[in-house]
Symmetry: C2
Subunit: 351 residues, 2 copies
């Protein structure tokens, strides 16, 4: 039997904290019983929740701290106040020390990124972190990155994102040779950033990647590629524009149905259709993002999620460890590193 | 009685050409009878359509040409092949010569932009063109720009977009002091391009604009501002991501309903709710975009639209002329030009 997956949880993270994190972990443990947990935070609050989940209690140990990063802290404040003491830091620290394989937090994204980068450091050949998420498409999920960790970036950065996203799709989506596309705005000659064109040329030359070309904004949900790569500004804008549209449509549909008795009756008949729409759009299932580029696996759950949503983030953490995300990324970096690591014989590498 | 609005139509533009453009013009003429049309294209094809629309025929004259820009032409090809001869060029030329007040085309966007810029030139103080569109929000439409005309841009460019978008919102949405927001990705310290922050500071100082701060991707549809400003890459990505999501959801809902008899019966009862959702999402109503920054008004309709959709683009053209878009833009540029026009006393202005 293989080793257990050891997951460190920031039990104070998110809008609610332990009352979401602990029951969320219990749901995930039920799906993946070969898991052990390190729960970091206020012992009394954690134990109060653990009392309701004896199986989880048996699979967990607690690291006590009274310090928690708030959702409002700026990254620099969080580092100043919470370094070495906060539940977020100590969860990352468990990964750093090799006591856990992955850290999961529903806390403040900027703080989590800053602490993870500061404490775990970047992988060889990767300059800057990325956040990757799963995007529901017409033909299953796709990996989209960067969702906002790093603004801008040259061709080399985009190639690194493609490699890391590919590894993540292999692990989470179980696709052996995931297709990779670069987000762009059409194929006319005057369009497209120079760095995107250059990245496209480099990706086309990489045998280990299944590069399929440019993907437009509507191609993400259209399933044009298993992995869609873009720098963090446009990735974040795309994600939020899509989320906002989905929310707008479901709000509007609810209002329209509430407006007449006939529609309400119709809703009862068509309930299964609406339920399957709701399941499809359920943000819980695509909850959060994976911080990529670090010497360790860190998962960010949405701060406002409930236990069920948090459980999906824990599942991601489990799967990425079980199927060796970091090893796969490192293998591809070594094999295809020429595309992203500066050639040691060139002067730039010395500087 | 005020002067008639004179609209030049590229009758060969779009996937279909005259069979969409002419009936579209007829629909718009019915709404705005104080319009005259210049129809540019193949006389035989136009007259065949005009025969079915006697009122439009009475309000139109034809400029004949056999040359049409294709939807596949690159901008440079279109300029080389279609300059001075194509229906697209001649429609713009009618504006240039003062024979029409606005040109409307459903043709190739890149070609239209290149020709309009080449022939009409930019407004004083504006370096680069923009495409602005209407975005349906939870509280009515907002103006969003740039949707893809110009990639990147400094603070000065973003301020110019804010001024032009504000004028467009006054004219098309009839809002006296439209709120203006800058698209960004959150307010944490590490986030946001330098040029966006600088543009925000400049906009805050402009009394003629009602600047409300940064807007995130989901704030566009959330109605966070009447005018949302961003450079063309992210604007295009946001628009397409939102359009793709809306299409994805309505496709999915249709499939889900078709899956069971109960759902189909429910659909019949809830028909009015579904119809009002369809109206709300109807891309025809937000059809196309306005090319801003030029010494003349040019409207781009979607190439794949039908007569009803094209009529909305013609309506926009009418309203922007009737309510003096260009005058309003020029007034604001003169009043607030300090924010965007280089100070003549500085050396840069000499270069």
């Amino acid at each position: 039997m293989p080793q257990k997956v050891r997951i460190a949880l920031d039990a104070m993270g998110g809008d609610v904290g332990a009352a979401v994190v602990v029951p969320g972990a219990a749901i995930s443990l039920n799906r993946y019983p070969d898991t052990e947990f390190v729960l970091v935070g206020n012992r009394a609050l954690i134990e109060e929740q653990l009392a309701k989940h004896p199986a989880l209690k048996a699979a967990s140990r607690i690291i006590h701290t009274e310090v928690a990063v708030s959702m409002e802290d700026k990254p620099s404040q969080a580092l100043r106040r919470g370094r070495k003491t906060s539940s977020m830091w100590l969860a990352i620290d468990a990964v750093k020390k090799g006591e856990a394989d992955v850290a999961v937090s529903a806390g403040n994204t900027g703080a989590l990124m800053a602490m993870a980068r500061f404490h775990l450091h970047m992988l060889e050949g990767i300059d800057r972190p990325a956040i990757a998420g799963l995007w529901p498409t017409v033909r299953g999920d796709s990996v989209v990155l960067d969702l906002g960790a790093t603004i801008g970036g040259d061709a080399r950065h985009l190639v690194a994102l493609a490699i890391m996203g590919s590894a993540m799709a292999r692990v989470l989506l179980n696709i052996e040779r995931p297709t990779v596309g670069l987000l762009n705005i059409g194929t006319e000659e005057i369009k497209g950033h120079e760095e995107i064109r250059e990245a496209g040329e480099r990706l086309r030359a990489m045998a280990a990647l299944n590069y399929v070309g440019f993907v437009e904004g509507d191609g993400i949900g259209g399933g044009a590629a298993d992995v869609v790569v873009t720098e963090g500004f446009s990735g974040n804008i795309a994600l939020k524009a899509a989320e906002g549209t989905a929310r707008q449509i479901s709000d509007f549909l609810r209002q329209a149905i509430a407006q007449s008795w006939l529609s309400k009756i119709g809703y009862l008949f068509a309930k299964s259709a609406f339920r399957s729409l709701r399941d499809k759009l359920d943000p819980k299932k695509a909850n959060g993002g994976v911080l990529l580029g670090l010497r360790g696996v860190v998962v960010k759950s949405h701060g406002g999620t409930d236990a069920e949503g948090f459980a999906y983030a824990v599942d991601w953490g489990y799967e990425m460890v079980r199927y060796d995300l970091l090893t796969k990324i490192n293998q591809m970096l070594n094999r295809e590193g020429g595309g992203i690591v500066p050639d040691p014989s060139t002067p730039e590498a010395v500087s």
